[in-house]
């Protein structure tokens, strides 16, 4: 399944972003803060996206409609 590779592709993207954040953070007193904030944010956001993606990769249940009492349901 080609889909399964998406988290790894995302990982590569985030890793590249982190590398860029490390090297291109503005120099000076706040460099540490820039680096840590950017890298941690990217990692945290990636993690949550990847978890959400993985949870739907092979779903065990399918959605069931709940508005069965709409007008079209009584036509039969």
């Amino acid at each position: 399944m080609a889909n399964g590779w998406a988290p790894f592709i995302g990982l590569v993207v985030v890793a590249i972003f982190c590398g860029a954040a490390w090297f291109f953070s503005p120099k000076g007193e706040e460099q540490t803060i820039w680096r840590s904030t950017l890298i941690l944010s990217a990692s945290a956001m990636y993690l949550m996206w990847a978890i959400t993606f993985l949870a739907q990769l092979n779903p065990l249940i399918t959605p069931v409609r709940n508005n069965l009492r709409g007008p079209e349901d009584f036509q039969r």
Binding site: L40, A44, W49, T52, Q56, N58, L60, R65
Partner: protein
Amino acid sequence: MAPHQDTMFRSADMSLTQLYIANEIGREVVSALGELGIMDFRDLNSETSAFQRTFTQEIRRLDNVERQLRYFRSQMDKASIPMRSIYDFENPFTSPSASEIDELADKSQQLEGRISSLNESYETLKKREVELTEWRWVLREAGGFFDRARGQTEEIRHSIDNDDAPLLQDVEQNGQNDTSGDRSFSVMNIGFVAGVIPRERIAAFERILWRTLRGNLYMNQSEIPEPIVNPENNEESNKNVFIIFAHGKEIIAKIRKISESMGADLYSVDENSELRRDQIREVNERLSDLASVLRNTKSTLDAELTAIGRNLAAWMVVVKKEKGTYETLNKFSYDHQRKTLIAEAWAPTSSLGLVKSTLSDVNDRAGLSVPTIVNQIKTTKTPPTYFKTNKFTMAFQTIIDAYGTIKYREVNPALPAIVTFPFMFAVMFGDAGHGIILLSVALAMIYYERKLQRSKLDDLFSMIFYGRYIVLMMGIFSIYTGILYCDAFSLELPWFKSMWEWESDGKKLGPRATRVEGHTYPFGLDWRWHDTDNDLLFSNSYKMKLSILLGWCHMTFSLMWSLVNARYFKTPIDIWGNFVPGMIFFQSIFGYLSFTIVYKWSINWAARGIDPPSLLNMLIYMFLKPGDLGQDPLYPGQVTVQKLLVVLALIQVPILLFLKPFYLRWEHNRARALGYRGIGESTRVSALDDDEEEGRHLNGGRESFGDDEDGIAMITEDIGHGEEHEEFDFGEIMIHQVIHTIEFCLNCVSHTASYLRLWALSLAHQRLSIVLWEMTMKNAFGFTGITGSIVMVVVFYAWFMLTVAVLCIMEGTSAMLHSLRLHWVEAMSKHFIGDGVLFEPFSFKTLLEEDPVE
């Protein structure tokens, strides 16, 4: 990059410095350092009481000036004259020269005299005015009584003169005796008392008079319509005019006494109406004279106060700074022979250059040939923990500091918390719409930062304002998590092609859906789950696992910092005795659980044709019945792997328990065998050895440790403070380690469970916003036409207010508190040492922030 750049990762490198300051410029030096605000002066006279210190006189004088300034302030408040705001001054933070201070003291002394004399005369005049007003009222009202009473003299006379007089005669004779009405009261020996009394006392006054005089009086009273203002305390009170007629001098005297004791003011009234008219005229004249004098006094006073108000704020700042300077100078020790002040202060090593250049500037300005010397001294004392914060990091640092003071040079948990704290919040608060509200509030606060900083805010809002950058991060992350949860004000965000298609039988959709082959929803939760029967089933399973995974990541991340700390402090035993076994224990249970969660997700169970095994049962069986799965295996060889992991985890417990204490004992015994002894253990034997004497001379003969006689005690005591030289007590270490082990192992379980709050709160938040939407907006959409638009407007406001109040403020607060707890307890317990000493620099800025002048 400079080798010694302080970052937020560790607290700044501190050094203990010693300053030798020429006595003449002590004040200037300290006030220049106060402007810098980077030196934490140690109290070198801690055994001297506050009254015996060198600069007590100056402080007392400044206290007096401060009192005078406060007096001006209160007078200005009383006259409601505004003070020029501190922010209107060009630069309120310039330090004053000594002559300016003297001038200020003189000036405020003078002004105080002037103001208080003006005040006094104003108050006397005011009192006089009140008296006259009251007199006027008495004259006016009493006139009415007299006129009425005069008509009755005859009757009174009759009733006195003639006991047999028929009762009805009064009525009959009433019309005929007009001429005799002018007969005065004095003829009949009837006296009277007139005055003014507060209205609430009138009832008691009447009763007392009645009882003491047994009814032998005739009392008349009337209310003064306008309230009388008491000049002493500016309080308004309602008063009554009364006039009492009675028979006999003694009774009149008695009445006078009673009325004075009841707080009444008595005024003389003439019974003759002509004279009374004159009196009234005179009173009126005096009143108008008084009013013009009062006006003049008042305007002079106001002008004086306005002039003071123009500079008062600056003076207050100056005096505060001056007082702070002298209080710091009192911490210095004074060398009488060399006329120098000796100070000891902690300062960040990186700012020593700045300190030195500032000091030489002060020296040059004073034109003094004796330079101020800055010495760095080596010490075993624990340096204070100092983080240089900016407005972005300040609030984050504060929430960590609120838990405990970070150990000197320990990894600072606030640095990762800049991201993890708002992120954990957002996982619980996830809703893009609410996130946008938070973000816009934060942006507004940041945009109007300067304005808001200067205005007075109430408690709650100032707290939010203080954490505006936290709110900013929270808003950004909430929007992100909201998009991932596919929730914006509880509505779906159908941005991508869904992975589900409703089944259709030609007429209607559903109830079931089929998956679009080979397509997984690319970003966040699929929006098709919204408004389905089983969305909770799916989102609960997803969010529960999300919490466990995030919790595992966060705890592993935090545990890694203990490795970094141990490496930095060069305590390898903490790595091998605490970190490694702890990490293995944690990973072999919860790392494995996280692995199986991800593994289970990535397998297509339907294609395999077996029921997906339950992870919860797996974890329970793993410990209760190792070797039995109780269900289908997740993967081949699962039994062996799990057995191995359980054994691995169990082996770590004894390692965690015994390795560190026994290693420490071995190390201690080895040191003992080599002949080393802790200095702290010896009882004042070595303290007077030559080495010690020499050591003291090398330190520049400093007197900071007090008198020479006390040297022995001080030195040993001093070393006792250093952690390394504590007496070795194996029992204590063992107990400590047992507690640590039990705590760590249990916490691995309870903390992992604790992260489930992420799931619980995000579920609650989502459900609440759905309920709110369905009860308000969804119903409003049902109306059409004009009614529809009116209903829509009303309902929209209600919905929006509730969204802000309940979902953003209330839910946001609770999510923030839970995120705070996850950081303080779950994350920081993994690595935080936290026995630091707070760095409290002498700084005019903090001095003025703590006690603002406004």
